[in-house]
């Protein structure tokens, strides 16, 4: 971290990623024999399909980044993280479909809901720590999951069937404007990543790391640690909400599975694959997670989840630092990695 490095050199990796991802649809288009103009007009077959897969990965990566900010950077393991994503997704769906609000009002509403939820979690933050916080957060999110699934709410949420027929504004319609949606999702991912990197290098972010390492000591240093945790929580919930909103706009059905524990575990898995607390690991992990899932499902059908599950267990056992985490190590000590993982999960309470 030198002071004289400029924006381009500091963010070289993510900017290369941005350019490659931007060009990828055209390259794939050329491979299947369609010109860039065809890709831009969203008429390419394979390129359009892969753009769709890319959008899903970008949304997952944004969600996983927001999870890593809490878990990997600040040391808060929330099992209710999916709630941030799901509330935004359902709110977007209901506001567009039932309330028929203009798009900017929907966005405002989603942001507001993100802050309210973060503050809701913040009520319990100073009172519970470590694994207790994890369970309380799970309880909070379960309440939301039950509400979404309840038959009384069927007209609004679609209950267990999911929320269908959300009218996406024409300018980002994922069917007719797939490439534009792809670029928007990509920009959100890259912007989130750059913002998070800056945050971690900022005074606020450094204190968040200190809280993860030794909260009592951070308090003794003179930091009101709860305030810092609330700040991290708000930033994380807004990010997860952006992902949730993109999800609602992209998917034809908002399934209630995005509100349950399994979806939080998805974020946890992605971060574990990529490397806890590395940020870039969230992006690498999202690619790994979605592509593995996609490939195995293609060949094995429904039984794929058994194989993917086994792959993750073996992966975490032997590569506890994750992909990016391991690359940053000088030498890999699996045992030390497990210890670190356990201490992170247990928290420093």
């Amino acid at each position: 971290m030198t002071t004289n490095s400029n924006f381009l050199t500091r963010n070289r990796g993510i900017l290369i990623f941005f350019v490659v991802m931007l060009l990828a649809p055209f390259l794939i288009g050329l491979l299947e024999g369609s010109s860039p103009a065809v890709v831009l007009a969203n008429e390419g077959g394979l390129s359009k399909f892969l753009e769709g897969l890319g959008i899903e990965i970008f949304i997952l990566a944004i969600f996983a980044l927001s999870f890593d900010l809490l878990f990997g950077i600040t040391g808060l393991l929330s099992f209710g993280h999916a709630m941030f994503f799901a509330v935004a997704a359902y709110l977007t769906g209901i506001a567009l479909k039932t309330l028929q609000l203009p798009f900017w009002q929907v966005t405002l509403l989603v942001l507001l809901a993100a802050i309210v939820q973060a503050l809701l979690f913040s009520i319990v933050l100073p009172r519970v720590k470590g694994i207790t916080f994890t369970l309380v957060s799970l309880g909070l999110a379960s309440v939301f999951h039950i509400i979404v699934m309840s038959s009384d709410m069927i007209n609004l949420t679609g209950a267990d069937v999911g929320l269908q027929g959300v009218p996406t504004p024409a300018f980002i319609n994922p069917a007719s404007e797939r490439f534009r949606f792809y670029v928007i999702a990509l920009i959100f991912l890259v912007a989130t990543y750059i913002f998070y990197r800056r945050f971690v290098a900022s005074p606020t972010g450094r204190v968040c790391v200190a809280i993860r390492e030794n909260e009592d000591r951070a308090k003794m240093l003179g930091y009101s640690t709860t305030t810092f945790k609330v700040v991290a929580m708000i930033i994380s919930s807004i990010t997860a909400s952006i992902a949730g909103m993109l999800h609602a706009l992209y998917q034809p059905i908002i399934s209630p599975t995005v509100a349950d524990l399994g979806f939080t575990v998805t974020a946890l898995l992605i971060v574990l694959i990529g490397g806890v607390g590395t940020l870039s690991g969230a992006i690498v992990g999202a690619f790994g997670f979605r592509l593995l899932d996609f490939t195995l499902r293609r060949f094995l059908g429904e039984s794929a989840s058994f194989v993917t599950g086994s792959v993750y267990v073996i992966f975490v056992l032997f590569v506890p630092y994750g992909i990016i985490g391991t690359l940053r190590l000088e030498k890999l000590s699996t045992r030390a990695g497990w210890k670190e993982l356990f201490s992170r999960i247990r928290g420093n309470a």
């Binding site: 002071t3 005074p203 200190a210």
Partner: protein, 257 residues
């Protein structure tokens, strides 16, 4: 002795853990600019007393005054901003962060820019300068960029001291700063503490077991025994005190050796 201002004062301070009175009705006044040692056998309540002073524990009864202001029950993160720094008997640092980052975080706490979440910390010049000075002072310049956990124990004690020196507190509460250090490293750390105290006219309250150290460096000594104050005075007075001799010093320390 000229009358000096009282920096910290306790009034009838007690802390009960169930039926045990770990600290029992302790009233003490400590003058600005002195090096005050608290001694006593294990279980005398020294660390509990420290925890009450530093706000880590809330007293059952009694009050703590800092510069005449009642600070009983103030949140712990306010203490350093008032000028009270505290070190721990068991090393309490950020083991996975570098030595530099440990000290930098301690310096940064005194800034009012902690919520600028888009600012680059390396651009906080006063913090960086302060960090460099403190690292130099505690003699860890060569180890600045290694994680604190790989430091040998003695160096971790120095780091612990550095962490509380960084925010430049007026009152330093040092709970056995030399605990577990190799004997040959002790004088170095003690000299450092004396230097800090004398050059910046700080007040140091020290819990220490090493009697040679205590007798040599302290301006005043308080002896605690079973949660109460047994005696208070200059090192010479304490060494001559018959009660202290029988309760604690007997056989352990003899002025003539």
């Amino acid at each position: 002795m000229t009358a000096r201002e009282t920096i910290i004062e306790t009034q009838n301070l007690s802390k009960h853990f169930g039926g045990l009175a770990a600290v029992d009705d302790v009233s003490i006044k400590i003058e600005t600019g002195t090096l005050h040692a608290i001694i006593g056998p294990n279980g005398a309540g020294k660390t509990t007393f420290f925890n009450l002073l530093s706000g880590n524990l809330k007293p059952t009864t009694g009050k703590v005054f800092y510069k005449g202001q009642d600070i009983t029950g103030k949140p712990i993160y306010r203490m350093i901003h008032m000028g009270i720094g505290r070190s721990f008997q068991i090393t309490n640092i950020f083991p996975n962060l570098t030595v530099h980052e440990n000290i930098r975080l301690a310096s940064q706490a005194m800034e009012d820019k902690n919520f600028r979440f888009l600012m680059d910390t390396t651009k906080m010049q006063t913090v960086e300068e302060r960090t460099a000075i403190v690292i130099e002072k505690v003699g860890l310049s060569r180890q600045a960029d290694i994680p604190a956990r790989v430091l040998p124990h003695g160096d971790q004690r120095k780091l612990e001291l550095g962490i509380i020196l960084a925010p430049d507190p007026e009152l330093l509460l040092l709970d056995e700063p030399t605990a577990g250090m190799a004997t040959d490293q002790v004088p170095e750390l003690i000299t450092l503490i004396q230097e800090v105290q004398q050059s910046d006219d700080k007040t140091v309250i020290l819990v220490e077991h090493n009697m040679n150290v205590v007798m040599k460096v302290s301006d005043r000594i308080t002896v605690m025994h079973q949660g109460k104050i047994l005696a208070e005075g200059t090192p010479a007075e304490i060494a001559a005190n018959h009660e202290v001799q029988t309760a604690y010093l007997g056989g352990l320390y003899d002025l003539n050796t």
